[in-house]
Amino acid sequence: MIVAAIIAAALSYRVVPLACTANGLAISGGGVLRISAQGSCAAVVPGRAISVTLDDEGRVIPEKLDPAAHPASELPKTAFSIVPTSSAAPIGNAVTITIVVTIPPSTPTGSDIYLSTERSSYNPAEIRMDQVDARRYRLQLPLQEGGRLAFRVTRGSFPTIERDAKGRLPPPHIVTGQAGAIYNITVEAWSDDT
């Protein structure tokens, strides 16, 4: 028991505080940690990550952010007066995703294929894709982990934007940032198909 308390005291945990009062530290995810008699709210700025350590009684002492702090999800349940039902979202490291687009065989020879993303307000010739073979094009993009990207596929202009198999303008494709993720997209038709 004593050993466990010593180990716990040596550990710090990274949390995003929502509010701090004399009796509790509310953190991202809706949990409320019990504050140690040695602790105070002085280091707490709502919304800005801090570290907390545990005292002998499993109560937290708010401190300045320690880069080596463990995730909040590792905090023992006994430290909470209200146990969170959700842990904080990922920090958002940069990851690389790959988008592979398969075009219809009847696509005009020599066409360049572009991604048109919401980041440019859907500029139809925003990012030219790299060719893989006669039917497939590929683009690797850096994205934040857990982030998202909405895009449409074009041949470089709005009159050549993709359509679905029924001839309708489809909603944008949405991909999310996961390390090494490969998203395969098939274009069914183009707006200028006859």
């Binding site: 995003v16 929502l18 509010a19 009062t21 009796n23 509790g24 530290l25 509310a26 991202s28 995810g29 809706g30 700025v45 919304g47 209200i82 146990v83 039902t85 959700s86 842990s87 904080a88 958002g92 940069a94 065989p105 009847s106 020879t109 048109s116 993303t117 919401e118 980041r119 440019s120 307000s121 859907y122 500029n123 139809p124 010739a125 925003e126 990012i127 030219r128 790299d130 060719q131 893989v132 073979d133 006669a134 690797q140 994205l143 934040q144 998202r148 990207l149 909405a150 202009s157 709005f158 009159p159 198999a165 029924k166 001839g167 303008l169 909603p171 940032g177 038709a189 198909d193 006859t194």
Partner: protein, 523 residues
């Protein structure tokens, strides 16, 4: 003028009525408003004030807004009020879609109310509602003081600086649109070598944007675009393109879904005295997609073509095919037949035609090569004794030279025969200038491309195209005999990429070479 009036009427037909979806609007301000476009979220620090359309006013120390989910967390001594009613909490969670407001008290758990701020009731603990992600301020795409949010549509920042986008100047206002509807992505501006939109104004039903443009062969231009967004994914986009050294061009397009399987669309343009408009309908029936396109221009030209096409279907061994048939007419006051001495004046020409297309599967060969081929044949018969036959075949191959380098090669040939039975010499007399043309054309194009790709950061493509066409005459027919092109895509900074293309057509338009280029900036 009559054509413009017709296009205006057609535009109303395409989209009328235009009932917009009601979307909540809110405004959030604070000492520091940070926008993360990767996660579509806003972080507010150093005091926050939120004004919602329902008359709700919320204050706190910090806030996190998830624009995808229409949720927000207000942290630190939060207060929400509406008229005389005020509620306090240590933190607040708003869910605009579910119309619920959760109040977190460090000593009392979570209570729930709604936009009326009725007496809060104890609620099950919903940790997801109070997630406040650990975002790094330095990764923000935009830094601002105030954000006006139109739910599921756009957010406007006043002012806006771009800390992670090198070279981007601060602006008094920046509109970021993230709506899924096609109306916010549509443009009626003609393609340009460079086009950088700048949103000015947005509501749940409209978007106004300026476009900084550069047109090959013309120069810089300013585009002004107005999009009206309606129901059924419908929209009307109208644009005016004002080049510094050429005539003003106007464009308009509209679109709307008709039920689950149909669409109606409209495209119009006015450029240097030439006005044209096209009204199109599509309807999917089983595995068929039918189209009806009606076109008209101020030169006295009109056409209406109805076509039906099967979807691409597998035949055997991976070969895919489709076929289409068409029927309609072309009409021109000055006559639709080829111009030559002594040819009859035919103002309306009816037509019916058939097309068959087949494509090989992608064949993987030795030495990391791939090959694929297509063939496309058509025949169109006209009411004046005339028929047009076309046959096009294409072969495309690739060879992967290394992990980063790939070689592409292709050959495309197209033959057409414009035949007037027993009258060929009447329509294509041998002496007609600018070129002797007997109704039979050939277009052959060979290409060789070398592509180098190094991860997400560098891509280079060098291309050579050789066209052997008959006829192949400057301004009149065929393509430039030689074209070289280089495309470069680099990412000089983590949050900004540049795509640059440069091409030269050799021996064309009476010049030794004709340059062209393209340029875009992306994230």
């Amino acid at each position: 003028m009559r054509l413009r009036a017709l296009v205006a009427v057609l535009a109303l037909v395409v989209l009328w009525p235009v009932p917009g979806e009601a979307k909540p609007v809110g405004e959030i301000a604070g000492g520091s408003v940070l926008f993360f476009n990767d996660s579509l979220s806003i972080l507010v620090r150093n005091g926050v004030t939120v004004h919602l359309a329902a008359g709700l006013v919320i204050t706190g120390a910090a806030a996190y807004v998830d624009l995808r989910a229409d949720t927000a967390v207000i942290a630190g001594d939060a207060q929400i009020s509406r008229g005389p009613v005020t509620l306090h909490a240590d933190a607040l969670a708003l869910d605009l879609r579910a119309r619920k407001i959760d109040l977190l008290h460090t000593e009392g758990g979570i209570a729930r109310t709604d936009a009326t701020l009725a007496q809060p009731q104890a609620a099950p603990e919903d940790g997801d509602a109070f997630v406040f992600p650990d975002l790094l301020d330095r990764r923000a795409y935009i830094r601002s003081r105030r954000a006006e949010i139109v739910s599921r549509t756009s957010v406007r920042f006043r002012p806006a600086t771009f800390p992670t986008t090198a070279g981007a100047p601060p602006v008094p206002m920046y509109l970021y649109t993230f709506a899924a509807g096609n109306g916010y992505a549509a443009t009626a501006l003609a393609p340009a070598a460079f086009d950088q939109p700048y949103g000015v104004y947005s509501t749940p039903n409209e978007l106004t944007a300026l476009h900084l443009r550069y047109l090959n062969g013309i120069g810089p231009s300013l585009g002004i675009e107005q999009n009206l967004i309606g129901s059924a994914d419908g929209y009307i986009a109208g644009a005016v393109d004002v080049p510094a050294h050429a005539a003003v061009a106007e464009g308009l397009n509209g679109y709307r879904q008709l039920g689950q399987n149909g669409t109606v669309s409209l495209a119009g343009s006015a450029d240097d005295g030439y006005h044209a408009a096209t009204l199109g309908f599509t309807q999917a029936v089983g595995t068929l997609v039918s189209r009806l396109n009606y076109g008209i221009s101020n030169g006295g030209y009109s056409s209406a073509i109805f076509s039906m096409r099967t979807r691409d279907r597998e035949l055997f061994s991976g070969i895919t095919w489709h076929t289409s048939v068409n029927f309609g007419f072309n009409a021109l006051d000055s006559g639709v037949l080829p111009l030559a001495p002594n040819t009859p004046l035919v103002r309306t020409l009816w037509q019916h035609g058939i097309e068959v297309f087949a494509a090989s599967p992608l064949i993987h060969g030795p030495l990391r090569t791939t090959l694929s081929a297509t063939v496309d044949g058509s025949r169109t018969d006209y009411s004046y004794p005339q028929h047009l036959n076309t046959l096009e075949t294409d072969l495309t191959g690739s060879r992967r030279l290394s992990r980063t380098m790939t070689l592409f090669f292709g050959y495309d040939a197209r033959w057409t025969a414009d035949i007037f039975p027993n009258n060929q010499l009447l329509f294509f007399p041998p002496s007609v200038e600018p070129y002797p043309y007997d109704g039979y054309t050939t277009a052959r194009l060979a290409n060789l491309d070398l592509q180098y790709v190094q991860g997400p950061y560098t891509s280079v493509r060098l291309s050579y195209r050789r066209a052997d066409d008959f006829p192949q005459v400057n301004y009149f027919a065929g393509r430039p005999p030689n074209e070289v092109r280089a495309d470069l895509r680099v990412r000089p900074f983590p949050n900004i990429g540049i795509s640059f293309g440069r091409s030269y057509d050799f021996g064309w338009y009476g010049s030794r070479w004709v340059p062209g280029w393209s340029f875009s900036v992306f994230q």
